[in-house]
Symmetry: D2
Subunit: 344 residues, 4 copies
């Protein structure tokens, strides 16, 4: 049975990726797209300056863009993906939830709220049950689920794998692609032949979101993990694919082989967008690389490599496609989990 879905903020960079991923999706059928007032009433093909590297799907091209307002959403839509700017999302998402829509949102607002599940389906699917708390507290018929920031998603699956050894301290340096800032986020004069060693708010997101994702939900409250996490974030001249250098200290001593085995043992789910394996481990220390490895598993695989033990803990590199696994694909996968767990 097909779920009819809508996409809020469908003309932006993440919105376009979302439209691309929904094309031919086995469970979801695109029924509505929204954008800012200026675009309302236009055909999607005209409103979106399509920049993804595959042609615009024909069923999306012909949809009429709607205003981003629950009153404009067709009643038979059961699931709504949101990739709105966080300021807009903070205003609008509660309205949709109140109107009964279930939202899988990539927007950064409210990710840390006590009653909002922040979910990577293969890692912490149980956190989805926070929705009961959410509905109780907010009196919503609908619901809001969040996926984490792209740089957080890239490292958390491997950190989760290491937590069996007692994760105590994490340091991570990121080399992030320009698409993470949106289509106009990084000008070419800023980044050609250059690196920018700062991304506003990114370090804090990585530090706080990862502790929430690795935390424990007892059915009533979510206790965040107590590992120290320290991030240093850099923008580099790549189009897609965030690469991260990680050091992780664990309570137990572990060998490189144990680490690689733990990575490989992270299980994928039986959902359309969950890749198998979830974590691809490279023996070649020069891999993974963004351009060569970002599209593994349709862009949903977490790639890891360069595992070694050092005085500063386990050291390794990890890579994920930031606008697929790190954004649009993350939201779609959360939608699949919502469907599979009976929340729609």
């Amino acid at each position: 049975m097909t779920v009819r879905v809508g996409v809020l903020g469908a003309t932006g960079a993440v919105g376009q990726r979302c439209i691309q991923l929904l094309d031919g999706h086995p469970e979801f059928e695109l029924a509505a797209v929204t954008a800012s007032e200026d675009s309302a009433g236009l055909p999607y093909s005209e409103a979106a300056k399509w920049r993804v590297d595959s042609p615009i799907p024909s069923e999306a091209a012909d949809l009429t863009v709607r205003a981003t307002d629950p009153d404009e959403m067709p009643d038979d839509v059961d699931l709504v993906f949101s990739s709105l700017p966080s300021g807009v999302a903070a205003d609008v998402e509660p309205d949709f939830a109140e109107a009964g829509y279930v939202l899988s949102s990539n927007s950064s607002n409210d990710r840390l709220a006590d009653d909002v599940p922040l979910v990577i389906p293969e890692i912490n699917p149980g956190h989805l049950d926070l929705l009961e708390v959410q509905r109780d507290e907010r009196g919503w018929d609908g619901a809001v689920v969040k996926n984490p920031n792209c740089s957080t998603i890239t490292m958390v699956p491997t950190l989760a794998a290491l937590d069996q050894f007692g994760l105590e301290r994490v340091q991570v340096s990121t080399l992030q692609a320009v698409s993470g800032a949106g289509y106009s986020g990084v000008s070419s004069m800023e980044i050609i032949d250059n690196v920018i060693p700062h991304i506003g708010g990114e370090e804090e997101k990585m530090e706080t979101e990862s502790r929430k994702l690795l935390g424990t939900f007892d059915g009533a409250e979510l206790a965040h993990h107590d590992a120290d996490v320290s991030a240093s974030c850099n923008r580099v001249p790549t189009i897609d694919g965030h690469l991260e250098n990680v050091w992780a200290e664990t309570r137990d001593d572990v060998t490189e082989a144990e680490v690689e085995d733990a990575f490989r043992a992270v299980e994928s789910l039986d959902l359309p967008s969950s890749p198998d394996p979830l974590v691809e481990v490279f023996e070649d220390p020069s891999r993974p690389q963004p351009r060569l490895d970002r599209t593994l598993g349709g862009g949903m695989t977490i790639a890891a490599g360069g595992v070694q033990t050092t005085p500063a803990g386990i050291q390794y590199n990890t890579l994920a496609h930031n606008t697929i696994r790190g954004a649009a694909g993350a939201a779609v996968l959360n939608g699949e989990l919502l469907q599979s767990e009976g929340w729609l």
Copy 2:
């Protein structure tokens, strides 16, 4: 009084930078250039495919390239800069030293040898006295002094500044420019829209060389520093300028202001290539950036920024021009120290 100097391996990327830096040097006069057998006998302008972004200096252009052999070096040359491939350097540098030449070498061979001083003049000038041990042990009239690897030089001046607080542990992620691998070292197909998270041997160089540079020389033996150093090295699509994300743990607690003051307090030397200030500290957390800041102080300044204290220690970024401060300029500056200390 002018010192006549020679350059070994003058046609390579570092050799060309060296020729550029010697142009108009107040103390040194270029008297001889060497290269591989194929180039011997050719005018330098023909042997070197000149690729530096300033025109080839006329006094260098007309020199006849010599074979890299002490018998071919003019007797009145007192100081020889070496930027040979390390394999060649290991064979040839001892011959030059035995023949009485004093070498300031950028080649990586023998940097860790007990009787070879590894020197950044503003940081550990006293290590130069290891040359007495060297001459005793090897029976040379000449001498060999080394400068460290480009990625090591970039971080050591700031680490040295922190050692007053008891440096215990260092972790560093590097974002290194392609020029560090030489002119043909990184193909464009490898690096456009990409990052390579591995540089062979680089991590070990950073770990071992920095401990030697920060070590203590008692007049007889050099004790390496005992801080743990762990490096993760990446190649990024920038032409020049290595940027590094550093975490440094110290025994004492320190504030961000104390760290910045310590950086600013590192003293430059009264030598032509030593910039003042040695360390330029940026308040803007998005600086330093390779393209904007690599040519500060003629490429000899160490730039730092983004200082913050974290659970994992002091966190900051540092940047230096890898083929100037990190290679050719480092060798020239060591030459200036040798002259000033009376070793020529």
Copy 3:
């Protein structure tokens, strides 16, 4: 019925693309791969440093690399793709043809020889009959067919479309991707933040090959087209996809609409690798663009746009994927034509 095929020079950049394109091919089955002496005897997965952005096909990975010698080729191989360096190809291709193998070669040697068909299947399939002349003159049981240079292929389909209006003069400026020079052909220090306005031999190839492709074969001799062709070739920092600015003067006056219609009217063939449409015409003058449009039709489409009439003739832009349509895919498509026309 499946044709068993071999690939000469299978470890290089074009060879790897060829292996990628043969994976899952409906008519061809990969039976043998060759490389230089050093690699002979190794599994292909080990000999080839695989750098294409999809995983190495498993049937190729396990093949043992052979020496590039007809005596080493299995007898049941009927079709051989060659992407050898042209110097090697000049030596070896005649040996394979003499030994009875039919070669579809991407190597540049002999492209202009009187009895060697130079073929783009959708444009000049009739030139294939030159093989009768070739076999007569050389006494071969096998045969050699060539595809043109990547920059030539990119523009010739549209020029062929304009020849109905009397093509008299062509000027073309190219913006060529680095992959056209092979994996190590362009160093990153040469091309980051740069353009190289010269590619050795490329201008002449475009001028002579295009006249041969547009020429007329009367069953005995091939008369080259008499249009003047003048090319100016540039290397730019793109990975794949050659973009070309073309001016074409024709005897007849034509409108922009007639030009676009002529482009759209070029027919594709009923062969697995021939895309439909062959020429995709963009109305948006900022398209085609290499990164967005190079993979149209699996990399086999010729994209065109920016059509306008000027005092200097018809002006337009054209784009093709240089290592697919311009090299490996061109050879595979020629193989499909050879099979369909009964030459195997």
Copy 4:
């Protein structure tokens, strides 16, 4: 005697270059900077996000930004450089001229107006006398002089050199740097690993401005040159430096040597910013290249190379620094000409 100067639109990319070029200028002293209302009242160092690769000049840093209004300009300013957006400039420049200020403007408005001189000092200094017509017609005490578009300036000096042979037809393909579109003009997602074969309005500017620059002024009217000019404009991933492939047809037959001699014979002027030689001719066909050659003559040299004769006329490449020779430096040089010719 020093001329006090003002800069309108001083915080933009061209404005910053202008401030950089005025630092230490032998004739001009920076007295006032203007920007949009938002910045008025701020110190320049705060209003301008300084992004040029040399530190902000101290005398500029401390100036208070003024509104862009002649009433706000100090009376003792005699020369005003304008790098305003063309829409703003069209409104404001006449007010400044009416108020008595002499403007050297880089803005594109009014470049083709009959009574506005469009000048490259070394090429058509006599066009400056159009100012008499301008003052007569407009009743201004001040004046407005324009420099051409960056892509036009790059090719016109060499075209002027060829006009002695009877210039009849010009075709040019450009490979333009991102800085030509201003700091935020080209997003990194548009241009990394890509080319954009269209720049809005640029082709027409090259076609019309070059005919005006090469035209003849008889003291009353300016007759534009009648050569056909056809341009095809591309944006490529370089920071600075426009490279252009030119074909020029002349009435007379010429040899490559005659062309190179004609280029070398273009005379520079005895003005501070006019380089000697004006045109640097390279024998190596792979030069000039943007990264290696854009800073020749402080960024004011026109570089040329690859000269050859073809059936389509003389073919060559030319390069200039687009924000120096092509914008800020062009305006400064026009200011020097205005001063030297007694217009201030």
